[in-house]
Each structure stands twice: as C-alpha cells, then as structure tokens.
Symmetry: D3
Subunit: 315 residues, 6 copies
C-alpha cells in the first residue's frame, strides 16, 4: 500500500520556459532508461520476489522503487514547468486579442517548430509518458527474470545507463530548471548504482575500479558536485512507513564507487519541498476552477445539503 | 513524494494455482483499462494539473492515483499467486528427477498449453506488465487533455470500463484467489466512478439514473455484495500523509450511483494485510537467498567491517 | 463523400457459433493483408493520387477502396456472428442462475480456452480491429509510394496475399458461416488481382501464365466454384453514385488470369442482402434498448416536445 | 455496403503550401482522436451493435461513421494540398537543372528541416496514416465495449477531445487551406458531440451547462463563426441511401449545447464540392499518366480488341 | 562484408513435428533476448565502435555477432522443421481428397488449436520474426550506449538471460529436434557469457563465484553435458576470413565461469553440417520448382540464348 | 553459417559531419524498405525455403541476403561518420573547458535542434535501428508467404521501393559522405530488381518496358552514372564460400531493365575497402581503450598467466 506526501522530493529552480530542454528531459521520464521504467521494473521485481530469507533484497528493491515514483513526480513537474507559458500568451490580460485564436491570432504557433508538438496539441503544456523522440513508454521495457543475480545485474546496468543519459542531457542545456532536476537525478542514480553494486558484492562480485559508470562522479558539473558534497550518492532512504525495511543489511560499508564514503541507509526520506499548482492556460482551453466554478461547487454542495435535509431531516 | 507500507490493501484468499485465471487477470493489471493505466493516468493528471483554486480536484486525482499504485501491487501479487507452483514441480524434494530438467524431465511443459507462455519463459511464474492477450502496456493509453471536464469525463468512462471488464472476468473463473481480488476491485472501481461522477456534478452534470455502469452494484455476485454491505463503494481514502487533501470537498453528499448511501472521504487508508514472500522456484532457476547465500552476506559484511577497521581503526 | 446502404454486400450462411474460426477470420479483417488494410491503402492512394490525365487509375483505386469498406462490414459481421452466443448462456431465461455470475456462476469461462480472450473481455462477442494473433492493426501497413507503377505492383501483391491467406483459412474450418464469407472474398480478391494486373498491362507488363496467385481459381473449393461460375472474379463494380468512374477504360478485355473470361466494369454495385441486428447479451452487460429503454426514449421525446411547446407555442 | 460520390464534403480554400501546418493536421487524420479513429470506432460499434429495438442508436452510429469516411477524405486531401509543391521545384520547366537531382541538385532538401520527413521520403508530398508526432495509427485506439451507455459516453468524450485538439491546431497556423478544413471539422465535431449527448439524455443524463466541450462555440474564430451561423453544429446527415435511418428519433429537440438551436436530422447529405486531381511531381518520381502513357493505354486497348476479334470474330 | 557457407553451424536431430515446441523456440529466435537481438546488437556495437586502440574488443563483438547470424539460421531452421508436416497432410498422394480443401476438406485445422496460428496462416509452416507470445521483433531491443563498460555489462546480462530462457525451454519439451538446438545454444550462450565476463575482467571487475548465470553448467541436462565435455563453452571462433581478429587477446586464460577450463580463441569456425531443403507443401499453396517449373527455366534460358544469338551472332 | 571480412563493401567518401543527412539515411538502414528489412526478409525466405528442385532460387535469395548484411554495415557506418564529431567538441584538447560539461558548458546542445536527438542521447553519435522518423525497426516488416511467386513479386517491389526512397534521399543532400553510399545502394538495388525480375521471367512474366522502377537508371545523378558505367547494376555476387551457389542459372541473359547489358553472376564478391575505427568521444562518455586501459589489459593477462603458472607449472 502506498501513501503520498504533498512535497516534491527535491526543489526545482526557477528559469525561463524552454520547450527544447523539456523534450530532452522526456527521455528521463518516459524513455527506455527513464524514471517510469525504473519505477515499474522495481515494483514488479518486488511484487514477484521469491525467497523468504532474501527479504533485505526485496526491501532494497521496494525502497528504490518507491523513491522512483517520487522521481516520476519530480521530473514530470520539471518538464511541465519548462513548457508552461512557453507560447508567451498573456492569458490574464483584458485585451480581446488575448482570447485564444480571437481575430485570427495564432498563440500556439510555437508548437510547429519546438520540441514535440504533442506538448501543445495532445497535452496542455505538460509532461507526457513518452521519450525524447516521441515514442510512448512500453511495458516491454520492464525486466524481471526472477533470477536474483540477473535482476540485480540488469538494475545496475539500468541505473548506469540512466545516469549516462542524464549526463548527456546536462550537456545539452544550461537552463537552471532543467539542470536542477537532472543534477539531482544523476546523483540519485549513482546512489542506486551503489545499491545494486553492493547487493552484487554480497553475491560474489568484486567491482574493484569499474564503478561508477560513467566515470564522472564529482567536480565536472558544478550542480552535481554540490550534491555529492552532501553525500547524496551514498545515502539510501527506505520510504518505508512502519520501519520494517531490512535494506540496510545490504546498503552499508564502503561505497563500491570507490570514493571513500560509507553507505548510509538510516533515513526514512528526505525533507522535500512544497508542491505548487500551475496556472490555467486559456490558449489550451485548459481551465482550472475559476471564481465561477468555485461558486458552482459551493452552490452544488448547498443544494445537496438541502436535499439531504429534506430527506433525512436536519443533520 | 511517496511512501510504502508493507501491507497489501486487501487480503487475497487461498486457492489452487490457476494459470488461465492468472492470464485473465492480466487485463486488470496491464490492459488498456487496467490498474497500471489508471495509476499512470491520474499521476500524470495530478502532475500537470492547472488551477490553484481547483486544488480539491487535484487532491481527488492524487488520492485515487495513489490508491491505484496499491491496486497494481494487489492484482500483481494475485496473479503471481495464481501462477506460483502451477507446474506442480516439487522443488523441495530429494528425488534427483526433481532437479529441473534432470534426466530429460520436462517440469515446465505446462507452459506450452496454458495462458501466456511468457509467465514461465520470460517471468518466473510472476505477473507481467501486459494484457490478457499478451500486448505490453503502452504510454499511449494515458489520457491527459488538460481540460478539467474532459479529463474527469474520461476518468469516469475509464473506471466504468475497468469495472465492466472485471465483472466479465468474475464470470470467467470461480477460483477464490482470483475472485477475492476481482470483487474488491469491482467495488473500488465503483467508488472511483462515484468520485468522478460527483466531481462532474459539481461542474454541471446531473447523472440521474445513468450510474453505476454497468448496471450491477449489488447482490448478484456474492463476494461483491459482502463488500458493498460494508459501504466500500462510497468510501474514498486520501492516502495523504500530512492530511492536506481537500478531496472531501468534492467526495461528499449522496452517492451519484443512486444507492442511497452517503459519500465519505474521512479516512486516510484501509488497514491492509501483511505481505508474504513467495518461495523460490528451482525449475525457473529463480533462487532467493538460501542458507549458502545468507552465509555469504554475513561473511561479506564481516570482511568489509574488517577492511574498514584496518583502514580507519576500531569503529 | 461516402454513403451507406443498409445491405450487406453478400449473404452470410447460418451455422453454429465457432470462436476459433472467428479468430482465424480476424486475419482477414485486421491482419496485415486483411480488408482494413486494403480499404485504407486504396483510400490513401486515391486521396494522394497525382496526374489529371490518369483519372481511370484513380477511379479504379477509388472503386475498389469503396468496395473494401463493404468488405470490412461483411467480414466484421461474420466474425460477430461466429462469436455471438458461443458461451451458450441462455440470457432470455427466467432461471435465476441465468443472471450473469449469479450464485457464483461462470457463464464466460469459455473465454479462457477459445480463440482470443479479448473477444469476451474487451469486446462483447464481437469483431476487433486486430489480426488472428491479437496484434492491433497498424497505420504502418499502408503503402502509398506515389509512384503509380509501384503502387499498382504492391496492390497486386497485396490482393494475391490476401487471397492466399483466405485459401488457407478456408482449409482451417468447415463452418458454413465462416466459409460463405471467405469464399466470397477469395473470388473478389481475384477480381481485384485482375484489376491491378490489367492496369499494369496497360503500363507495359505481360503476365502470361503467372496469374492468378495462388494457382487455384476453380473447382477445388465447392463454395468458391459456385461464385466463379457466376463470373464474380471478372466483374468490378464502380460503387460510384454519379456514374463518373472511368475505371472501365482499364478493367476491360480478356482477364489476365487466363481463364478466358472478359472483364466487365459495367455495374454500379451488387444487389446485397438485408442487415439484421444481433440480440443483447446479458452475460456481457451489453444491453440494447429493451422495453424500459424504449419507454424512456418516448418519454424523453414527449418531454422535449412539451418543453418546446411551452417555449415556442404549439408546433 | 458503401458508395462514393466524387465530391468533397466541404470546399478547401487555396493558400500557399505549408508543410508544418500539414504536419499539425496529421493529428486530426491519424492521431488518437482524429478522423481515422472516429470512423473506425463507429463502424465497429455499428457492426457489433446489439439490440434489435435500439435501431435508432445503431443508425446514429452508422450515419456519423459514414460521414467520418468523408472527413478522412477531406482532411487527407487538405494535408496533401498543404504539402504539394512545397519544395518549390519547377517540374514543368525545360531547364535541364530542373530534372530531379540532375547535376547534383537537391530539390528535396526542404525535407530535412520541415514537419515530417516521411512526407517527402515515404510518401510523395501526400497524407500519411500517422499522427503529428509520426506515430502510425493503431487498431488499439478503437473502443467498443458493447455496453451502449459506455460506448456513447466514450464517443462524446472522443468528439470533444477531437474538437479540443482542432481548436488548438487552429491556433497554430493562419494558413487558409488548413483553417478552412479545421474550422469545418470543429463545427462538425460539435454536431457529433450534440448527437452523443442527446443519445445519453434519452438514457438518463442531464448535461445542463456542461456542453459544449471545450467552452467555445461561437465568435472567437471567425471561420468557425460563419459555419455556426449556418447551423451546421445542429444538423446531422444520414448518408443513408434508401432512407432507412431512424437516427432522427434521437437527434431532435433542443440542442444539448444550450445554444438555443433545434437539432435537425432531416437531410441526407450536404451538397459537396468537386474533387480535383493533383499534378505529377517529378522530383518524387511520382508520375501519373502523361501523353506517352495515355498513348500506351490506347494502344493496349486496341491490341486487346484486335486479339479478341481474331479469336471471336468481329464484335 | 559478409560471406555464407552452405552449412549449418550445428546438426539438428530428427524427431516428430511439434508446433507447440516450435512456438516456444520462437522466443529464442525473435524474443527480446533471442538470437535476432544478439546478432543485431553486436553488429550495431561493432559498426559504431569507438577507440582505435580497443580493436580487440571490437573484434570480439564482431566475431560473436557473426556467429549469431549463424544462430539465427540454426534456430530458424529448427523451428521450420518442427512445424513442417505437422498438419499430417499427405501432399504426395494421388487421392483427390488430398488436394488441399478439395471436397470441403480442412487439412489446416490444426492451426486453430496449436501454438501460433500465424505459422500456418501468414507463413507456410516456417519460422517467423516474432517471440513465443507472437510479438514482432523490435529495433528498440538493441542496446548500444557507446560506453564500452556499459555495452559489455549489458551483453553479459543479455547472454545470461538468453541462457536462462533456453534452460527453461529445455524443460518444456523432450522433442529431440528442439533439444538438439536448444542445448547447443545453452552452451554457446555460456561461451559468450565467458567472453563478455572476461572482457569486463580486463576492465576491472572480478567475478569470483558469480558466474555462470544461471548456476547450471553441467550434468543436469544430458544433451548439454555432452557439449560441455567437448569444451564448447570455453571456445570462441573468429568467423574472420582474413584472420585479422585480435579477440584472442581478450578471450584467453582461465574461464571466468570457474570450471577450470582455459579459454581458446584459436579456431576460425566449427565444421558445420550440410543444409537440406524442405519439401513443398501443397496445403499451404507453397510450391517450389517442380518438373514443370524446371522445364520452364530451361526453356527460358534457351529462348534468351536464341535471342542473344539472333542479336549478337553465335556466342 | 556466416563469415566476416574486415572490409567495407564499398568506400565511403570524406566530407563534413551532417546530422540531418544522417537522419535521412536512417530510412535506408532501419526503415520499412531499408537494408535491415531486405536482409532479414531474404534470410527468412532462405531459411524457410521449400522445393529441393528450386535450389537456384534459394541460392539467389541467400546470395542477395548475405550482401544485404554488408549493406547494413555500409550504411550504418556511413550514418556514424555523418554524425561523428558533429557537435564540434574538441575532445583532444587540453583546455579544461573542453571537459564535457565542465564549468557549465553545453557541448551537446546541437542535439536539441538537429535530426534525431537519440543520436546523441541514446547512442553516442552512431547509427540506430530506426527509420528517419524515429520508429524502431519491426519484425512485422518481414514478408515470407511461402509461395515462391508471391515472395519474388514482393521482393521486386521491395527493391524498387528502396531504390525510389534512395533516389529521394539523394535529392535531399549534397553531402559527399551521404551520396557515395546512397549512389552505391541505388545501383545495387537495381541489380536486385533485375535479379527478382529475371526470376519472375523464368516463372512466366514478361516485363517489357516496365523496368527499372523508378525510371531513372543513368546519367541524371553523376555519382550513380559512374557506377552504372561499371556495370554494377547487372552484376550479382554469390558471397558463397564453397562456390555451391546455383543462382547463376537464373541471373543470366539480357537484363530485364532493358539497358542492353548482360547479367553476370560469375563473381564471388567485390574487393571491398578497409574498415577504420572511429575516435573516442569524451562528450558522450564513450571511451575506447586509452593508454591506461591498454596497460590494464596487459597487466591482467600477465596476472592470469602468473596464476596459471602457479597452478599448472611453467607452460
């Protein structure tokens, strides 16, 4: 059973809208090695897990899988922010030209030349479950052989590939909104690399100098370095409400990445940051609840209440 | 940010393995109208939500979406149990013929004639992210137009179709393991139908006698009736950790299904039931951590500790 | 612009339900070489056609394409009939056990072992836009290179492959419902083979003894022979309402299949046969308009009428 | 059985080629909520329809479905016109450089930077069965649950989403060719919204102020307003050749969109406009029948005639 | 550049046709971890390879990739043999009933109940590029990150998973035709596991007791044991015509599988076994060149010769 | 069984990187009518071939299929060269800014605006198994009906379509690297057109003036003309190592393309040209074996040797 906390797992920096960067980040959300895939893969591996004596491994999968749901939330929100308002349409104005399409205006013409046209046509300047080339996410991505060593080996490769791709995305844009999330995920992917590498060490492998993959875990990317200095690459949260996780029996000792840090699984979750709600976008015919709607809600509730009183007497 | 509780959202009854029923249930997990889809659709709708004044609608989507992750866990576990042990291979025996394939044995020949061969060949008698015809789940299923009325209308149709399909699955098998989960989901789908129908009522629609869809909400299916009598079709949990959900401003008053019940959104979550871990299956080469492995884990930990002491001195 | 006539292009014989045969016929509907594909391919080739002086070729494509929509209707209806009632559930009975699922009954358990489970789970014993292995139809099947010779060559190959597959389906089942439609389509595919072969003859190819493909156009299949004796393989209808088709400038002269017949494009359409409507199926929760519903329709109409009279005065 | 009339359902305005707009319109043709989908969905719902007493509903589906084939023809032709000639290659010139590729020319280099490269590489400046992001149309889009209320609810949502997306496309381009078709389809989608909303009203729902979706049915888009003033949003044609449609029993009374108009189902079809044939495009190696080819056709016909006379005597 | 030798890489044993086993083997051909995938993955990795000083790694990929083309040929031929003749139709008989479909016969009715219906309907009792659940092979399977360590790690996981799946297939059938090929591929997959494991050892990993995966490399499967005794798991061929491969610089020393054998890369290729051609199957309308056809070939050749002599004089 | 020769089938000219041209060429590699498809289609047709007396046809398919593997290698390498270095990142510099991403640099920002972003994000400036619109290659492309005439007819159409598309790509770019390969494949596609046309002639068809398709086989494209003058369109290699191919019994006589040349199947293979290895690209984290790595390889080998000597004594 899962619970939600109305906080983002990491803060997102403010910057200008950037639909091309948004599209690159889609690979990290809906791509073959993105967050939807890690999330689903670990949830399936946890559901289908075998071996009552191997609970620490199941708990490790469960904990990382639960974190990945929060990563889907984080990168999805980041993409939405990079898109939000990118057509520069002033929907809050009183100018009649500001009505979408009024008088022959073309407030969405940016859609024809930037990133993925579906961001404006199918969605309303929001994230989509597709990769950066527009391919929808597929269940065929999920790997769960049922053989513990193979599943862990795949997971290590998966996290390393995700990290490699995010390092490449980092090099594609200097937008701060994009980079704040990408940098965080680069470091968390390394934490997960460490987790699976450590689990494989307990099953017989010695990684020596092979980790991390790719060979960059420090000062090259300033935003990443800041997080590494906090030790986020060597921390694994449980996200477990009743504190029953035994993942700490695996995620302990020296980091297999060879950076000299000690692995730490003692925390339940990071602090997080509040979630805000995006404004409505008239040019997308995407209204939320305006004054008129709020009045309707109140009126409906009152009417119901009156109905019920009529039926059941004064409540 | 998400958290996990090591409890299943509803208990699963014990019965014999039944791979054909397991395959039918795959539609409810990875099908176009199954739990993976509702989960992803609501999470995307919540992430991309617009309208700061419309928070109760976002909270409703977020709450149901979070519940759906637990439904994925529930139906996935149910499928795994229906498959587990279906080849009737006695892996715990001392009989040498009982080694998988030894002496030319064919312990997995059931795979050629039952349900989906991938349940034995790609997975290890576990759930897959595919539908009952073997099609992998696709991101193209997710609907999120950004127009609140349309999104709610789609969600109502989605829950009703999910409920329709589960009513059909109910009629395909009498296996108790399958039915305990299917019946629970039929009732919860109705609760979600009620939630979206109520939300649309606040936006102007009057459903009169149209709900529920399909027209069965009571005594025809005994397992379903038992849950309806508990009022589960009129209850919506928040699954919200800090109690910030405003969904109760919508999910209140008389049920739009016309069964005379009052909608209730006052609970955080159901109690749940403990999760157990499946046994290893040698014929799938799917071992967990046996005695030998457990020893390895301990030894590795000790070795690390020794290494560290050598490096850093007594800890 | 298109019009519909409430008649099937060819009569369907009565026989027992046969879900396995229904599934085989799905290849002829939604398969890579089925009727949905020929229909879409010719409509696209007609829409994108180039060359004002080449109108007879466009008209030929348009005429065959229009016929194929009727073939989709024919084979879809045939599949629906082969499925309809296959669970042998007596929905018209007064027996309470006859309510779907009542008392734990499993009226749809046939779905677990016959043909495609989606026929009962996703559809309600009706045709689906998929092939015999369950793959959904794809727009990537449509071929339209824009080079007239290539398009005609592809179309000839397409019709021949469709005919080959239908000959194989003929050999898979003796069900009369299935065979009456399959036999008709075998002969019509040959007529279309002839049409494209003739068009290629006008552009330079001499087929000599190569046609028809496959080498069976006569007496081996009794149901097919009957239709060949009527000359249906050498007839092409225009389906053109204002009689503007010039396809007859191509579809004339000796048949390229070498059976000694003359091609004839003088008719607008076959006579057809009335369409009937299938009964409702309670076990699928698939009701049509019963007495109660009919009353509702009448009541609604009257109410509207009254409203309008109140508004506009007596009409 | 279907028939074709060599007239487009609505005229297309002339304007400059515009491949980016052409690509946006692909969503309306081959997208998940485009015309190929509505067409196929309604044809399948009509084929699989249940309930002899519910014929008016079947006739409504059949009539709208038949109209959608004409919409596929209309939007496909519009896309083809937007693409036709966009490389600005003067194929009718005598300049030897004007031969495609001659002397190293690159007449198709526009393909590398505009819209979808397949418009020039796979097709010959013509429409494709794909969406605006290049995904091929899929049979998995078709929804046909067999439950009448659900099917109608889905159809209402489908038309509303199609209309929403077309409103967004309207805002992406001011090209007159694109807008003349988009505006027409916006209004026709509303007519279909009305049709399904009305059908649901007869089954119990009261839409009150919820329709139309999205909330724009009038004067914002000038091209749309002109068509609304003609009442096209409240008219439904039968496209039924023998006048057997009973759809008018449903499509009558006050419009559920609340614009005060009366629904009218008394006409068989609109008048339409003649279809023209596009010129050949040498740079695509896409010839039609030029003088040389026409001569070939004549010669072949004569040769055949001579053969036949030799065989059968003077005809 | 590639060359072909008309010999199969390993002999296939004779046994009865077995369409269910054929279908299981499709996973090994067209599945996500089958031979088409390994072949394509290694060919792409070799084509895109970076690092002039890393040629031994490229040569290793190229050598294994070239072997995999031969594996596609081997397992494809095995599937074709398992299917060939499975309908038990005596096509060589003089009995008129033996003509396919004659007199209403149904020689292909086996297709409705065995394995994948496409084996009889789309193919003619031959192998298909699909997996055991009927999903077509996809280019999205190919992994080629461009990071050498990651590519090797993925390849190790890929071969291990292929081997795991083949061990499971072994346990599904006792058919000798199926097992002779499956056993060979189990052993060759282990050789490739060793190759990639060794390559990773040179880059820093120490596998200790982790290999092979899964933990079975010997005597459990008799057919496998025979090949292990020949040392096939520790041999890698170059398949390199001019002997320029440097893969032996990597594939040397003690096997990382810990079986005490020494790796040997000194041979160019195995000896192989002759390829035979399958008989024609009339019930599939799948003729080869019979006497009549052979005569045609000869006649055509003579005619051409005569033409040429007429044109050019005596040759 | 297959062998590889470390030579490319045709030389690739040097020119500047050009990612847009690279993307267009992807259609020729992973498109529906590209080299991966011809390769797979002919290999499957050869594997499933029927008719011991029809060996020349099988040998023709096998020979062309083997050539196509070399074409995959050629066009894949061409794409990789067009991409290689396109970000203009000077990875060999000592400038610290030259470290990828260092100091906030964005060396890969070209990826957001050119061709397919996956070329930089998923691959490392290398070829992908996708088409020019980014769709992954699919096994559903492979056609193998088992009817010899149909298979040959399809192959003729396939080669002609491939040639048509390559003629269009030729017209999209003047880049010499792209054109050298495209021109070669245009001519080889014509050779294969001739092969299948000739095979169909032996089975009864007379092509007269219909070939080649499209109607350009000579002087329009200078690079193509040069190869035609060498007669490459009328030559077919066997690629058969033991000289057992009988394809020359078919590929002989006058070319069906009507250019007056004689078909020649006497050669085993072209001479080819050496393969070079691309440099490493740091900005992609795509290292090969640098000095450090080479040292590691040597050290590892020595260590192993020492281990073995310790175990087995001096070797």
């Amino acid at each position: 059973m899962y619970f939600h906390l109305q906080r983002l797992i990491n803060p997102i920096e403010q910057d200008e809208p950037d639909p091309a960067a948004a599209n690159a980040l889609q690979e990290g959300l809906g791509g073959q090695f993105g967050e939807m895939r890690t999330m689903m893969q670990y949830l399936f591996q946890s559901i289908n897990f075998r071996g009552p004596e191997a609970k620490p491994y199941k708990d490790l999968l469960q904990g990382i899988g639960t974190e990945e749901i929060g990563h889907v939330e984080l990168i999805g929100t980041t993409i939405a922010r990079l898109l939000d308002g990118s057509p520069r349409y002033r929907g809050d104005s009183d100018d009649p030209v500001d009505e979408p399409g009024a008088g022959g205006a073309v407030p969405l013409n940016i859609a024809l030349s930037e990133g993925n046209i579906h961001h404006y046509l199918v969605g309303a300047q929001g994230a989509l479950p597709v990769d950066a080339a527009g391919n929808p996410w597929s269940g065929s991505y999920v790997y769960n052989s049922g053989n513990l060593v193979l599943d862990l080996l795949y997971n290590l490769m998966l996290e390393s590939t995700g990290r490699l791709q995010k390092c490449r995305i980092y090099e594609m844009t200097a937008n701060k909104t994009a980079r704040s999330t990408i940098s965080y995920l680069i470091v968390r992917d390394q934490a997960h690399e460490n987790a699976y590498a450590k689990a494989l060490e307990t099953l017989g492998v010695n990684w020596r100098t092979a980790l991390p993959i790719p060979k960059t875990n420090a000062d090259r990317f300033p935003e990443v370095k800041r997080l590494l200095d906090l030790g986020l690459q060597s921390t694994q949260y449980s996200f477990d409400l009743d504190d029953q996780s035994e993942a700490g029996r695996i995620f302990q000792g020296l980091s297999p990445s060879g950076d000299g840090t000690m692995l730490d699984a003692s925390q339940q979750a990071p602090e997080g940051t509040p979630i805000t709600i995006a404004p409505e976008r008239r040019e997308e015919f995407s209204p939320g609840a305006d004054a008129e709607l709020t009045a309707l809600i109140a009126a409906t509730a009152e009417m119901e209440m009156a109905d019920m009183e009529a039926t059941f007497g004064r409540l």
